[in-house]
Each structure stands twice: as C-alpha cells, then as structure tokens.
Subunit: 207 residues, 2 copies
DNA sequence: ACAATATATCACCAAATAGTGATAAAATTA
DNA sequence: TAATTTTATCACTATTTGGTGATATATTGT
C-alpha cells in the first residue's frame, strides 16, 4: 500500500545494514577487534550472516563501512571558525588539544579505531589518517607556519608530540588501571595535571 | 656418558622451550598478534604443539613467558648512573627521551608489546607497566620532584606526554606510510624535527 | 489475486584451530 | 644391557570460523 516513509514494517535493507554496523560497534566495544567474527556479528545483529556477504561483500567490507561511518574529526572541524587569528593559532591549538584530550577519553570507539590504525593496514584506516593530515595541513599552512616562520617545522613537531601523547594517554587510561609517570589518568586530578602541562607547553612554544 | 655441559645433542627441554619463545617473536614480527596460533607457533619452532602444553601450560603461558623474557627497560636503567645530578635531571631526562625515541623506533618487538598493553589485559603486560612506573618513580622522587617542588606534578605530566608521544609516533611510523602533522617520521629529517622539539620542550620546562 | 522481485533464513561444507591420549625414541640410571 | 625417565611425535576429536547454494517469506507492481 504505502511505501513513501521509512516505516516499511519487517524487511528493510537499509535498516538491516544499520543493524550490522551497530553490531560491529557493540562487539568492538565489548570484545575488541578479535571478537569480530562473522557468526558473532550476525548473531548480535539478529540477522543471518549471509546478508553480510550480500550487502557488504564480506566481513572486510562491513568493517570498512563501519570505519567510514565514523565521522572522526567532526569535533575538530566544528568549533573551529575564526577564533582570534592574530595570535598565531595559540588559543586555537590550545583549545583544540584540550578538547581532543577530553573527547577521545570519553569516546571509546574512537580509541579503538586509533588503535586499529596502529595494528592493521586497512585502506579505510589510511583514509582516516589522511583526512586528519589534510585537516591539519590547512591549520598549519594558514595559521602557525606563517607565525613561526623558520621554526615552523619545530612547532609542527611539538604538536605532533602532544597530539600523539594525548592519543596514547587516553587509550592507556582506558585499558590500564596503572598510573603513568605516577599520574592517575582516570582521576580528575591526574587529568587536570595533563591539561596544565598541555597549556604550559603551548604557551612556552609561543614565547 | 657426559651430561655436565649444555651440548646435550638432540633432545633438550631448555633448548626446545627457547625455540618456542623464538617462534613467538618471529610470528609477532611477521604476522602480528593475530598470527599467534598454536599450530603455527609449533610449526615455526619445528616442534610438536603438544610440547607447548607440556612446557608452558598452553598458548597463554608461552606468551606470558615470552613477554617476561623481554628485558624491556634495560636500555634505560643501564646508562643512567649519576650523570650530573645538579641540573634537576634536565640532561638526564633529555638523553633518556631521545634514546627512547631511537630505541623504540628500531626495536619492533618492543613496539608490539607496547601496543599489546593497550589492547589486552594480561598480567605479564601489567607487570611491564608497573616496572616502568617503579623505575620512573625513583627518577622523579630522587631528581625532578625536589627540583620542581610545587610544580613537580606538572613536570611529571610533561614527561608523560612526551614519553607517550614518543611511543605513539614510533609505532605510527612503523605501521603507517602517511605523515604525521606533515612530518615524515621515517625520514632522518622528520625524526630530527621531533628530536629538536623534545629537546626544546625539556629546556623550556626548566626555565 | 498473481507474478516478479527483494529480503532473509536454513542447512550444509571446508578449513582452521585448540586440545589430548597413546606411543615412539632418545637419554639417563642402575 | 636392561629398566626407567625424559623428550618428542603422531593420530585423532571437538569446536570455531568463513563461506555458499537452495529455499522460504515478505513486499511490490500489475
């Protein structure tokens, strides 16, 4: 009878595809990479595994589509705008790093995908890395390179160290109860120490 | 006839155990974690898999023993000694970080184990993290804390960011051909930019 | 209502994987 | 050299995993 809206009762390809993508996320969250077996994914999705082959061409296709579905850098692009361009990107970099530190700590899926990028050689994962690079390139070329001139590359290296440090510490905090350099990265106190250090180092870099 | 020395011809339990440990290392290096299957390990070792159960109690026992066999922080403890204690640990921290950056880049096994610590919850991996913490604690309490006094924790946070940044960048460089913040982490040029930044940030931290 | 198509399930296969009891072969001891 | 113990292999089972052809059921168009 009606077919316009998306309420299409029982059988719906798009909804089924989404169920598989949700299943991947759920398993990734509960069992990690090694738990991603076609049988388990299908069972978690409540559908037959054959559909994974029909709709995604197999497990790899499904996983690639899951990775692509994550809008990874949205939290960076969003609140960028033009927040005071006349300080050489100092306040922008600082808020960006601090918000990344918080965002990645809370978003466990992003942590898993970051880890994935260190373990496996997937095209979809490379694409994420390239996206981040392209985004960063615009920031560096437009803001910080002109400000730091001959020291531009050193500043890029500083940001590289801080970003990657933030990644590692957030992931470490999730999988490890142990401290890092004596700091409890799960506690508010420990995390604010890291935030202070980030802020301090950026300030010093602009001196 | 003779049994004193270790030349015991063909059958030798200790040598066989070592063959399994070597096989774990080799597979870890070539195929990564996911390649560590008992059948493959046994085949790589050139021995029967039953021995893995007899000697190590199973795959997990073997892997734990492999991890324990890695003297992970030897490169740090070694050349420590008392290299100028009157600068608040500045030169010591700097050389330590720079040598870590180089050592971890070259030592792929260490990279794998570091990654492992972010993925899996193994007792033997926790032990490594604790060892590093205990080692660091001695450094901080004996050298840097007294120097930085009320800012001691901020300095610890700085070191935490730099160490974890070094870890991440070295691992990233190995598995990724892409740049990071526009720097090629496999090239001498890119790596020396990172080294400059490390040196620069430590200097600024002591100002 | 009927045919055509899209969606989903089922039963099954082949390969990979973990694990073990029985046994062979070497080494040690008496 | 004979008996005993240690070291290693082999053959086998059960389970998991990835993958597919045949079939059923729902939806849509006529």
């Amino acid at each position: 009878m009606e077919q316009e809206t998306g309420v299409k009762s029982l059988r719906n390809k798009e909804k089924s595809k989404q169920k598989f993508l949700d299943a991947v996320e759920k398993i990734l969250h509960t069992k990690g990479f090694s738990g991603l077996k076609v049988n388990d994914i299908a069972q978690t999705a409540g559908l037959d595994k054959k559909l994974i082959y029909n709709y995604f061409g197999g497990k790899d296709g499904l996983i690639d589509e899951y990775i692509r579905s994550q809008d990874f850098w949205s939290n960076i692009k969003d609140d960028s705008a033009e927040t005071s361009v006349n300080d050489g990107g100092k306040t922008f970099c600082k808020t960006m790093l601090l918000s990344q530190f918080d965002y990645i700590f809370k978003n466990k899926n992003v942590q898993k995908i970051l880890l994935w990028g260190l373990i496996e050689n997937r095209k979809s994962l490379k694409k994420l890395a390239n996206d981040r690079e392209e985004n960063g390139a615009r920031l560096f070329e437009g803001l910080t390179d002109p400000h730091f001139k001959e020291n531009a590359k050193r500043y890029r290296a500083i940001i590289a160290l801080l970003i990657s440090g933030i990644y590692y510490l957030d992931i470490y905090a999730t999988t490890n109860d142990s401290t890092f350099c004596g700091l409890n990265l799960k506690s508010a106190a420990g995390r604010s120490e890291i935030e202070n250090a980030i802020s301090f180092l950026i300030d010093k870099s602009y001196e």
